[in-house]
């Protein structure tokens, strides 16, 4: 909200320097977003009276005005149609400065000398009104600076009010806080309403939903609708509200000042002088002031006329046809208290937030209803020549009772870490309007009706903290005594995995898990978890694999000429919930993507990335985790090339995939080619067996190396042969490694040659030639069982 300092000063001196006021507001939790001085640049503009208005000899739309500015007279050219002899106006002589730093000079306009200009409200920085020259009060002293007259010396605080402080959405509430802070007087004068028995009229009010509308007060007055006086327009403008008419302006003025939304109905346009407060019926419709026809629900609260026709969506916006207009002569003024949650629900459902609903849903002052109405009537008498009917209809069947809260000084100190005395606690709370009884150790506190946020002891502890300021609280560092700080196994593993991939040359990407359905479908055929209210399709489902995000990263970089990329991501993916669960499954995965060329030049030739690069990266992850019993097995994988993809198994359970990205996906996304990828499920890996960590002594004896080459059918995987050879050799096999793959016409179709290096070693002796020969035969036999034929 925007709080002009001049308005605050109606209630408390607030005469501290501006920066101290700003600091106080900030400390108190009324955060100052901006400090504005609307008329800061206006200099030298003076009060002048128009003596005579003459036509401009050479321009139809311009006039000449002779003005008297107290200690002199001069002539200006003026384009506004509303000037007339006798009008008192703001006059900016040559040398005066206007907003934007614009300085006036004496100059000729269409052949006539103009010694300055007459100003509109907008030209003085007072809002948007540029329709005519601003009319000043007729008794303004000629020659005076207009700054004090128009409140241009004012400072406006733009405050961000937290939802728990409805009272601070009114000027009076802000003033109360500042008065308490600066220990200055705080006075809100009681409104004085002069009534006129001649306009007596009875307005029956029927509240059918007292739980939703605990209080409804109606007053009646005859008014003369017209423009508001300058002071009110200026004040509203500074507070950010446009002037509409004196009657509407008064309701807005009281809303801003007292935080009590009011509504004025044209009494003669209601069907009979009466009000019914009721909930809507299913399917009922009404058109609100903004011209939108709204379908209502039984939870919506309506203000209706005697015929039960809706005239307002209670507390949110007017409607029907009872709005105050230029022809209105009698008004019904509504001042009510609505239950917060009901207003919040309807406001949210119809997506309509107004100055009124924002206040009602935070909680207004149920006991401030009558005085706010009086304040409005007092102002209507002043600015709309109101004749106020005596008496009011005030339906308040069950007055809101404020809680009595026990506040312990010891608890205040226990929470804040302070050593306040009971007297200090009292001194902190009392200026906020809180009634306190008690001995200093324990208080019985009754918070004021305008503070719905105060109903527990802790709420008052917070008030004490706000009042003494957080700077008065010390700094101590607690040390947990029951535990040692540490990462969990998974948290350590996560770091190991990321570090392994960084070591393997991959950089980490962090992508947003919200993706398009098409993006995720490229890499997964599982139905994704769907966002109910996405802003756009690109962020409408959750990833079920990390690969779409990495593919997007590759596309981004590729588009910037960065085709050679090695990236990984470690994070959650989202799978539809298990049958009895509400929330999705969120396994943690790690995936890598590599595109383009492996740069080796000039030392060696470059080569395109290939699937074995992805296998290397994957193995570095598995090695970091110590995963044992891993198998890679050719299998089709969504998004990968069917002839170059595999799944990864640990102890027989699937834990991931690896391969070449499907060329169709590469084309569709414009990725650099080739692209290879892997993905591993860290949750599944956490359940997989890990390497035996029991120490094995290393043999000091020399190894025996045996190389074997076989011709094998293409259907036999190299890994299967390695496993067969290792198994056949037994504990003597220190390592078995495939070191050559060869295809050639001599081998026949669908066959290849695979060569293996076996390093044999015994823990306790050097192997004899005959032992080695015997092991070699066992190996050949085992390979033969898989269809492998030893090459000559």
């Amino acid at each position: 909200m925007r709080a002009p300092l001049s308005w605050i000063r109606d209630f408390t001196p607030a005469d501290a320097p501006i920066d101290e006021i700003v600091a106080a507001l900030n400390q108190l939790g009324l955060e100052v977003d901006a400090v504005e001085e609307p008329g800061r640049e206006v200099r030298g503009v003076r009060v002048a009276r128009i003596l005579e208005v003459l036509p401009h000899p050479d321009a139809d739309k311009l006039q000449l005005a002779d003005v008297d500015f107290g200690d002199g007279q001069t002539r200006v050219v003026c384009g506004a149609p509303n000037i007339a002899a006798g009008m008192v106006v703001p006059f900016a002589p040559s040398g005066a400065t206007l907003p934007g730093g614009f300085t006036l000079e004496r100059r000729k306009i269409r052949g006539q000398v103009s010694d300055g200009m007459l100003c509109s409200a907008k030209e003085l920085g007072l809002g948007d009104d540029h329709s005519g020259i601003l009319a000043l009060a007729p008794d303004a002293v000629l020659g005076d600076d207009v700054r004090p007259l128009l409140g241009l010396d004012d400072v406006v605080f733009d405050l961000a009010i937290t939802p728990n402080r409805p009272d601070a959405m009114g000027i009076v509430g802000v003033a109360r806080e500042l008065a308490a802070h600066f220990r200055q007087p705080f006075t809100v004068p009681d409104p004085v309403v002069v009534t006129d028995p001649g306009v007596a009229i009875t307005v029956p009010v029927l509240i059918e939903a007292p739980d939703r509308c605990p209080r409804y007060l109606a007053r009646v007055a005859e008014v003369t609708v017209g423009p508001s006086p300058e002071w009110m327009r200026a004040r509203l403008l500074k507070a950010g509200v446009r002037s509409i008419s004196n009657v509407v302006d008064v309701t807005n003025y009281v809303l801003l000042e007292r935080n009590q939304p009011l509504h004025a109905f044209d009494l003669d346009r209601l069907a009979g002088p009466g009000i019914v407060v009721r909930t809507a019926t299913a399917g009922e419709r009404m058109t609100t002031l903004d011209g939108v026809e709204r379908e209502l629900e039984p939870t919506d609260l309506l203000i209706c006329d005697a015929d039960r026709a809706p005239q307002a969506l209670a507390g949110i916006m007017g409607g029907g046809d009872s709005e105050v207009g230029p022809t209105t002569t009698r008004i019904l003024l509504e001042s009510a208290y609505f239950e917060r949650m009901g207003i919040a629900r309807t406001s949210k459902r119809v997506k309509l937030r107004s100055e009124s609903s924002a206040r009602f849903e935070r909680g207004t002052d149920p006991d401030g209803v009558a005085v706010a109405a009086d304040r409005a009537l007092e102002l209507l008498v002043a600015v709309a020549a109101a004749r106020v009917a005596p008496g009011s209809v005030d339906e308040y069947p069950a007055p809101v009772v404020r809680p009595t809260i026990t506040v312990r000084t010891a608890k205040v100190n226990a929470v804040l870490g302070t050593t306040l005395s009971g007297a200090e606690v009292r001194e902190a709370l009392a200026p906020l309007g809180i009634d306190l009884a008690g001995d200093g150790e324990v208080f019985e506190a009754v918070p004021p009706s305008f503070r719905p946020d105060l109903d527990r002891e802790i709420d008052l502890v917070e008030e004490v903290a706000r009042r003494i300021g957080f700077a008065a609280i010390g700094r101590t560092v607690p040390k947990p005594e029951h535990q040692v700080g540490a990462l969990s196994r998974r948290q350590r593993d996560r770091r190991l995995v990321a570090d392994a991939l960084v070591g393997a040359g991959y950089s980490e990407a962090v992508t947003i898990p919200l993706v398009s359905p098409e993006a995720v479908a490229r890499f997964s055929d599982a139905p994704p978890v769907v966002v109910a209210n996405p802003l756009r399709s690109e962020e409408s489902v959750l990833r079920s694999t990390l690969l779409p995000g990495l593919a997007a990263v590759a596309a981004h970089n590729g588009a910037r000429g960065l085709a050679d990329l090695a990236v990984f991501e470690l994070g959650r993916v989202f799978l539809r919930p298990d049958p009895d669960a509400l929330l999705p499954r969120e396994p943690e995965c790690v995936a890598g993507l590599r595109t383009g060329t492996v740069r080796r030049t000039p030392v060696e030739p470059d080569r395109p990335v290939d699937a074995h690069d992805a296998v290397d990266a994957l193995r570095s992850v598995l090695d970091a985790l110590g995963t044992d019993a891993v198998r890679i097995e050719a299998a089709p994988v969504v998004g990968l090339d069917p002839v170059a993809s595999a799944r990864v198994l640990a102890d027989g359970h699937p834990v991931g995939v690896v391969g070449v990205v499907d060329p169709r996906v590469v084309d569709a996304l414009g990725l650099a080619s080739p692209a290879v990828a892997f993905e591993l499920d860290l949750d599944a890996l956490a359940a997989a067996p890990t390497r035996d960590r029991q120490f094995r002594s290393v043999s000091p004896f020399p190894p025996s190396n045996v190389d074997l080459a076989f011709v094998v059918p293409d259907t036999t995987a190299a890994a299967d042969l390695v496993a067969a050879l290792s198994g056949a050799v037994g504990p003597l096999a220190e390592s078995v490694r495939c070191f050559d793959e060869f295809r050639g016409e001599s081998l026949g179709p669908d066959r290849r040659s695979l060569a293996f290096a076996l390093r044999l070693r015994a823990p306790d002796r050097t192997l004899t030639d005959s032992e080695v020969a015997e092991v070699r035969e066992r190996a050949i036999t085992a390979a033969g069982a898989l269809g492998a034929v030893l090459r000559g």
Binding site: G29, E31, P163, M341, A344, K348, E361, V415, L416, I458, E462, A465, F470, I473, G474, R475, T476, V477, P478, K479, P480, H482, Q483, G485, L487, Q491, R495, A498, D499, G503, A504, G505, Y506, S507, E508, A509, V510, T511, P513, L514, V530, V531, A532, N533, P534, L535, R536, E539, H556, L562, A566, V567, R572, F574, L582, L583, P584, E586, R599, R600
Partner: protein
């Protein structure tokens, strides 16, 4: 051989050896010259043998002469060896140009958010905390209700929530903060509790320079007997000093509102870049706003079955991207999620 013979032999040999060393044309030649004039059959060896037959008063003189001879020949050999080695190296052609570099990139880089996250985790582990985690898709209870945010509470409109098509309408959502991890921790763990919860959070915003539908937060929760707001402020200050590696960092707190803490405060640290003289990072205020904090609201304790009369707690949270942006002068949040290779490799 008498002394005179010996001295004459060494003098003559020195001159001949010098000539032979200079005349050696290769390292092999030089080795054989060295053997001839310093080895077992050299004049020096012969003189050494003869010294035994000399009188005691003659022996020192002879010994000195042998030493001088050896030193002179050794030095000459060393000089000639250097010359010949240099010549041999020149014959191998130009040397290896190591400025050509290696075979390629040797190491990748952790994302900046991960680096910041690890750094913060380590600070809190040092303070004795554990790391807590929870799901990114949450139910209404953990994200709102248990945090003292009932349906239609105005605080809900502070968060632009992304809901998930599961359960009842608006029952399942992408968590809007890391605070539900507080609830999950307190539901499963008896106090005392000292944890930090880093993780991804979501808002219904489209990715642009200033907004992102996902970003990262870290939240701290401590529940113990007798914890006070001074403990909260002190912990934040200790953390901020480590974060900026600057013992002069101070903290400032201003009243604020969060439904799940009371009293609540906005937390700011003194600007370490200008030491409060005013700079771009702190918008010339001398203070950098980092996040929010407060004492755990008793209602939250009641929701998770912890007695608010026995236990008190504090919580604070802040954004990881924001810390990185402050520290490294990154202007746009989108930078973190574009994952441009040049950005990734800068950190």
């Amino acid at each position: 051989m008498n002394l005179a013979d010996a001295l004459a032999l060494l003098e003559r040999s020195a001159a001949e050896a010098a000539a032979a060393v200079v005349g050696a044309a290769s390292l092999d030649d030089l080795a054989s010259v060295e053997r001839d004039w310093l080895g077992k059959r050299s004049p020096a060896t012969a003189v050494n043998e003869a010294i035994k037959t000399f009188g005691p008063d003659e022996r020192p003189r002879a010994g000195q002469a042998v030493g001088a001879y050896r030193a002179a020949v050794t030095d000459a050999v060393a000089v000639r060896r250097s010359e010949l080695e240099a010549a041999a190296a020149a014959d191998r052609g130009p040397g290896l140009d190591l400025t050509l570099g290696g075979h390629g990139a040797v190491r990748g880089h952790l994302h900046l958010v991960t680096q910041i996250r690890r750094e913060l985790e380590d600070i809190f582990v040092g303070l004795g905390y554990r790391i807590a985690e929870g799901p990114e898709v949450e139910d209404d209870w953990h994200n709102f209700e248990a945090l003292n945010i009932p349906p239609a509470h105005p605080a809900r409109s502070m968060q632009d929530t992304l809901y998930i098509e599961l359960g009842r309408p608006e029952q399942v959502m992408l968590r809007t903060h890391t605070s539900p991890v507080q609830i999950r921790t307190m539901e499963t763990q008896e106090p005392p509790i000292y944890v930090v919860a880093p993780g991804r959070t979501y808002r219904n915003e489209t990715l642009d320079a200033r907004h992102s539908p996902a970003f990262h937060q870290m939240e701290c929760l401590a529940v113990d007997r007798g914890l006070t707001m001074a403990d909260l402020f002190g912990t934040i200050e200790a953390f901020a000093k480590r974060l900026f590696d600057d013992e002069s960092v101070r903290t400032r707190f201003r009243s604020d509102f969060f439904p799940y803490t009371e009293p609540s405060a906005e937390l700011a640290v003194s600007c370490v870049f200008c030491h409060q003289r005013g700079c771009r990072v702190c918008s010339h205020t001398g203070w950098i706003e980092l996040g929010g904090c407060g004492m755990v609201d008793p209602n939250v304790f009641v929701q998770v079955g912890i007695d608010p009369e026995e236990w008190q707690g504090f919580a604070f949270g802040f954004g990881l991207e924001r810390i990185a942006m402050i520290r490294y002068g990154i202007d746009e949040i989108r930078t973190f999620f574009d994952n441009d290779q040049r950005f990734l490799e800068q950190y």
